[in-house]
Every structure is written in C-alpha cells, then in structure tokens.
C-alpha cells in the first residue's frame, strides 16, 4: 500500500493544479477588416520635352471648330456625342480657389471664372437647360493631369498653365486667361518681392504638381536661399502661412488675389515673374473635344461673354482694377499633339 501513496499523491496534485489553473483566457487582438486601404502606386517620372519641342509655342492649340454644331445635336461618333448621350459633362475643378473655382458654403454651389468657362462648354453641348448637366469633381493641383489621363473627367478647368511638358500628357484648349506668378506675404513683413525673400532665406510654399513650385525649384540664381515647401493644394499654403510654417506663398496672381481677400493680414507683392497662360485640359486622344472647346472660346472672345466673366470675377470682386482684353487668338497648329 505504501508504494501506491506517492503515485496517488502525484495524480491528485496534477488534477488539483489543472482544476485550479482553469483554461486559457486572452483578449483577441484588434479587429482588422477584410478591406485594406490601398496606398497610392509610385508615380512614374513625367516625360520631358526636347529642345525642339520647347522652342514651339506652347499656347498654340488645335484649330477651332467652326462652325460649332447645334447644341443638343452633337455629330455621331464624336467625344461630344458621347458626353451628350451620357447626359452630363464631367469637369475636374478646384473647390477652394476663390474667384476661379470655389464652393460657396451659403449656396453649396461651386463658382468662379473656371466654372463659367465649363458652363459655356456645357451650354454649347446641351443647350440652355443645364440643370444636372454638369458634374463637378473637386480635384487637387497634383490630380489634374492624372484625372485626365485616367479618363475620370472630360475636362479640367483648374487655373492650369499650358506648357510643353504637360502637352506631352494631355491636350490643351487655346489660352483663355493670362496670369503671372507672384508672391503673397504677411502685411508688414517687409518683403516686397520673391528676390528679397530669397535673400532673407525665407520659406515659401507652393502646391506640388504646379508650375509655380517647378519655377522656384528650377535652380535659377534669383531663388538661391529660398526654402521651398510643397503642399497638396494651394489653400494648404495659406494655412501654412497662417500657422507660421511659411513666410510666403507663391502662385498665380489671380489665385493669390483670392487669398488676400480671405485673409486681410496678407498682401500680394512684386511684379509677376513668370507668364502663366491658362488653358482647359482634355484627354490627349480627345482632339475633337479640344477643337470644339476652342470654337466655344473663340466665340466667347468675340461675343462679349469672356469680358462679362472677367468683369464678374476679377473686377467686381475688387481683385483687379484694370479691364483686360481676352488673350490673343492662338496660332492654329496642325502639328499637335507634340511627339
């Protein structure tokens, strides 16, 4: 019997330990869903123009369509006919560039110079009743070209400068507005132009993907000393200034005028140091739509509509004081698109 005592005791101990310890109890880790948030694919380097291509006039677009087809009766097989069939024109615009493309929170409508340009294109396709005929997609500066390349929008009206490098990726209408790059500073900062800001090693903000940031990053001697910070959108630059992250914002004078209107502690200073010819952007393959838009813009130059839009958004708002003529009609260039 004595020999059984240790083994019985061992069995009892093991049983007691098991009873006392109980089962495992752990909280599971954080729940992860079965839909992963995709990160943006790496962007490929933008194509560069050859010296010969650079020498050509960037503002020369395809010949204007003349006469324009009757609104509501777009010729079969054209891009305009597809838009008419769809029932709405899809336009990529800015939602926060006051005077050119900005949402009015009181009316919930997007309005501005660029928006009126889109309205004219839509009117030429659909006629006078434009209710529900335009779908606005608010896009950032950096999304302007990719949106057209991906075909998610028919047209981009987004204070977009026509230049050679962009012509390699998209098509442009003829020039509809001539802006220039300037600098916005805090009132009383003492800065009077971009050169002075560079000498003082000031920080300047510009939107990524814009010609404005390309200019100040070009390596030109006059910008030596400038500290350049890029933001997704130009309105982020005004925030950066208001938060003390940047001393100045550089952009087109028209856009900066809208900023000065939003923040009375800022002012636009100096002369324009670049030319920024604005054009409507289209998918590279849609030459017929570019020609159509050029026809609409040509009509606007002559029938007074362009002057009305200019008056409404740039004179009546106090952004500019001098009346202007529409940019000169472009040289028709059959060689587009660039190779």
């Amino acid at each position: 019997m004595r020999r059984h005592v240790p083994s019985a005791a061992f069995v009892v101990v093991v049983a007691l330990v098991l009873v006392s310890c109980g089962g495992d109890a752990t909280l599971p880790s954080e729940v992860t869903g079965d839909v992963a948030v995709q990160t943006a694919p790496p962007t490929t380097a933008a194509p560069e123009c050859t010296p010969a291509e650079e020498a050509e006039s960037a503002v020369a677009s395809y010949p204007a369509l003349d006469p324009l087809p009757t609104p509501g009766s777009m010729p079969n097989g054209t891009t305009m006919a597809k838009i008419q069939e769809r029932g709405r024109l899809i336009a990529g615009v800015s939602g926060d560039t006051l005077l050119f493309g900005a949402r009015n929170p009181l009316t919930d409508q997007i309005e501005g110079f660029d928006i009126d340009m889109i309205t004219e294109i839509a009117r030429a396709i659909f006629g006078e009743d434009l209710d529900g005929r335009i779908e606005y997609r608010v896009i950032t500066y950096a999304d302007r070209l990719p949106s057209l390349e991906a075909g998610t929008v028919d047209v981009v009206a987004h204070t977009m400068t026509i230049n050679c490098r962009r012509w390699l990726r998209i098509g442009f209408s003829s020039e509809y507005y001539r802006a220039g790059q300037k600098v916005l500073v805090k009132k009383g900062s003492g800065y009077t132009d971009i050169t002075q800001l560079a000498d003082a090693q000031g920080t300047v903000c510009a939107p990524e993907g814009s010609t404005n940031i390309d200019e100040v990053r070009s390596g030109a001697a006059k910008y030596d000393g400038l500290v350049v910070i890029g933001k997704p959108d130009i309105s982020d630059c005004l925030v950066a200034m208001q938060q003390g992250e940047a001393d100045a914002t550089t952009g087109d004078d028209t856009v900066l005028a809208g900023f000065a209107a939003q923040d009375p502690n800022t002012e636009v200073v100096g002369r324009a140091f670049t030319d920024e010819p604005y054009g409507l952007g289209f998918k590279k393959d849609n030459e017929d739509l570019v020609q159509f838009a050029n026809g609409v813009i040509a009509d606007m130059r002559t029938n007074g509509r362009w002057a009305e839009i200019y008056q409404t958004w740039l004179i009546d708002t106090g952004a500019l004081t001098d009346p202007a003529e529409p940019p000169a009609p472009p040289v028709a260039d059959d060689s587009r698109p660039l190779p």
Binding site: S20, S29, V37, R103
Partner: protein, 435 residues
C-alpha cells in the same frame, strides 16, 4: 587524513555535521526521530501559511490588475468613440456650411469636452509609457479642436480655405485615434499578461499543502507502525484540516480564476468587439461626409469607409455569433450600409446635392432613398446598449472572482498555524512516553 586548507576543512566539518545529524535521526533513538518529525511538520505547516498567503495574494493582485486593465481598455475605447463621433459631427456640419444646426454644434462641443475630461481619467490610470503618449494625444486633441474652429469660421464666412483646415483637422483626428489605439492595445496586453500571472499564481499553495499532507500521512503511518496505535488523533485532525484547505483552496482559487477568465473570454471580449465596431462605425460615417466634401475626388475616403465598415461587420458578426451580443447593431448597420450605397449612387451619377441632402438629413432629401442619419443613429444606440451591458458584466465578473480570496487567505494562514500546533501535540503525546 590532513585537510588541504582551513576553509576546506570547515566545509568538510559542516557537511559532516549535517550528515551526522541525519545519520543520528535515521539510526538514532525514537525521541530524536519524534523531535525531527515535529520540526519537519511545523516547518511545512508554516510554509503552507506563508506560501499559501503569498500565492493567494499574487492571484488576487493579478486579477485586480486584469480588472484595472479591462476598465482602462473600456475607458480608452470610450474616448476613441467620442473623438471619432465629434469628427463625424464636424465633417457633417462642414457640409452644411452656414446652416449648421445648433443641436449639432452642441453635440460636437459635448463630445469634445467629454473626451478631454475622460482623457484625464485614462491618463491617471495609465502606465508610464502610455502617459507620455496620452499627453501627446491630449495636445493633439486641443490642436484638432482649434483646426475645426478655424475650418468652421472660414466656412461660415464663405472662405474656401476652410476646407484646407478641415482636411488638416481630419489628419490630426487620425493621429489622435492612432495614439488611442496604441493605448488600447497596451491595455489588452496588460489584461492578457495579468490573467497569465493569475493562472500561474496558485502553484505555491498547492505545493505546500500537498507536501504538508504527505508529511502528515507519512507521520501517521510511521506512528501507527512504530507505536502500534491505529490513529494519532491530533495528527489525523491536522491531516484533515490540510486536506480541507487543499480542497477549499483549489475550489475557491480555481473558481476565482475561472470566473475572471469567463469575464475575459465572454463579456469583456464582446465589449471590446462592440466598442471597436462602434468606433469604426463613426469613422465610416465621418468618411461618408468627407467623400462628399471632396466632391468627386473622394475615392480615398470611400475606400476608408469600406475598410471601416468591414471592421464593423467583422467585429459585430463575431460578437453576435459567439456571445449573442451586438446582433441588433449588426442588423442596423447593414441597413445604414445599404442606404450608403444609395448615397454613393447619387454622387457617382452626378447628383451631388441629392447625396448631400441624404447624408445631412435635410428636407430636400428623397425619403425613398432611405435615411442614413436615423439608420446610423439606430446602429450607434444599439451598439451602446450592448456595450454598456457587456462592460457591466465584465466588471462584475472581476469583482465577483476576487470576493472570496480574502477569506481564503486568512483561512490558509490559520490552518497552517493550527496544523503546527496539532503536530506538536500529536508527536508530543508519544514523546512524553520517554520522559
């Protein structure tokens, strides 16, 4: 034999002393053996008192730690829900521009103020690493409030720069949420570590009780064989007390850890799942508004809506299937998700104003398309009801589990002392026969 060194000689002498004593006991006379048996039993009984007390105390502390960490988890999740809820209200209010409703504004103010105040409670109960992170979260929350205010005031004046502030506020809100999720994970790890400690804590009580029982049984057998007595009453009573302590100790200890484990595996896991679902739900609702604020360029926000909704579905499905809790919330979210599809359809087909009217619940909304605001509120309410019930059940499990450990601790100490006294009496009866 000559010792090699003096210290080696001392060691040899000490070892020799022990050996001599053991040899004397084994081969010695009965009184010496009785004295040795008394000493061994008293030592084992005192070991039961001290080891048992220590063992039970460790288990009680571990379960208390697990309960504290569970409370912390529930508190942090509550703050996370308040933050995402505030952000969701702010995003929706931005869509309404200057027509922001007063009730909506008050709701936002309330959520932010409550989050800030509860963050203080969370910090007070946090470990050193989490405190630093929570200080950062608290500062970010203040920044977030400032940015929303800037967005709101610009928006009301018709300044488009407000949208840039709203985007920035959203980025900061995401940082706040990420910080809180880290603290949540830290609380989960603390619950699991504490429960593991609680499981391990009973071995010393068991070991000392079993050793004491074996010593008492061996002593009884020896006394019976050597003195031809059937039973030594005090030693038998001591063995009975030890067996009783062992049985009660195992029962109460096992019940304590089992009750706490049930609390973790059941209502706490369910509360954790529902709280995550609730937070993800509000995040989805916020992304729904942001998709519309981005107006046609909100694909990234819609993808985030899908990701958050997937978390809601996974968490609630799990909670409903395993614990029969969160089932109503799951059904309500499915209804909201279905109406969200209508919102996306309206926006994707160019009827942005109609989509906004649906999301903001304005009078212009088409009632045939559903009411995402009411449906989402129903989900949030159902989730909150189940969350409160599960949290209370989890808290009750922990409180219940440690309730009897205090009494057990005293019982074990007294039992050890009683066994020691009985051993002295029991062996003393035989020892007196030699005087």
């Amino acid at each position: 034999m000559v010792p090699l060194t003096r210290s080696a000689g001392r060691i040899a002498g000490a070892t020799g002393g022990w050996v001599r004593r053991v040899v004397r006991v084994r081969s010695g006379d009965s009184p010496t053996k009785l004295q040795a048996a008394t000493a061994l039993t008293v030592l084992c009984a005192l070991a039961l008192s001290i080891g048992g007390w220590y063992s039970i105390d460790r288990r009680e502390t571990a379960i208390d730690d697990a309960a504290g960490a569970a409370q912390q988890l529930i508190r942090v999740q509550d703050v996370r829900v308040l933050v995402v809820q505030a952000d969701s209200i702010a995003s929706n209010a931005y869509l309404r521009g200057g027509q922001e409703e007063r009730a909506q504004r008050e709701q936002y103010d309330d959520r932010v103020a409550t989050a800030a105040s509860r963050l203080v409670d969370v910090s007070n109960a946090a470990g050193e690493t989490d405190v630093a992170l929570l200080q950062q979260v608290s500062a970010q929350l203040a920044t977030y409030v400032g940015l929303v205010e800037q967005a709101r005031s610009n928006n009301r004046q018709g300044y488009p720069v407000g949208s840039a502030y709203q985007r920035q506020a959203r980025t900061v809100a995401e940082q706040v949420v990420a910080g809180l999720r880290t603290v949540e994970q830290s609380a989960r790890t603390r619950v699991n570590d504490s429960m593991e400690r609680a499981h391990r804590a009973s071995w010393l009580l068991l070991l000392t009780a079993v050793v004491l029982l074996l010593v008492l049984l061996a002593g009884s057998l020896w006394l019976a064989a050597r003195w031809h007595r059937l039973v030594n009453v005090p030693i038998a009573i001591a063995a009975g007390i030890t067996l009783l302590v062992l049985t009660i100790g195992v029962g109460v200890n096992g019940r304590a850890v089992s009750r706490a484990s049930d609390g973790v595996r059941g209502p706490l896991t369910s509360a954790d799942l529902i709280a995550q679902a609730r937070a993800a739900g509000f995040d989805a609702r916020s992304n729904e508004a942001l998709t519309l604020i981005a107006r046609g360029n909100g694909a990234a926000y819609e993808t985030q809506w899908q990701a958050s909704s997937s978390i809601v579905r996974t968490a609630l499905e799990s909670s409903c299937q395993q614990f029969d809790s969160g089932c109503t919330a799951e059904a309500r979210y499915a209804e909201y998700g279905s109406t969200h599809e209508s919102v996306r359809k309206e926006d994707n087909e160019g009827r942005w104003e109609s989509a906004v009217a649906l999301v903001t619940g304005s009078d212009d909304a088409d009632p045939a398309l559903g009411d995402p605001t009411a449906e989402f509120d129903a989900f949030a309410q159902a989730a909150e009801t189940d969350l409160v019930a599960d949290s209370a059940a989890a808290t009750s499990s922990f409180a219940d589990s440690v309730g009897q450990l205090g009494a057990l601790r005293i019982l074990v100490v007294l039992a050890g002392l009683a066994v020691a006294v009985l051993a002295v009496i029991g062996y003393g009866q035989r020892l007196r026969e030699y005087r």
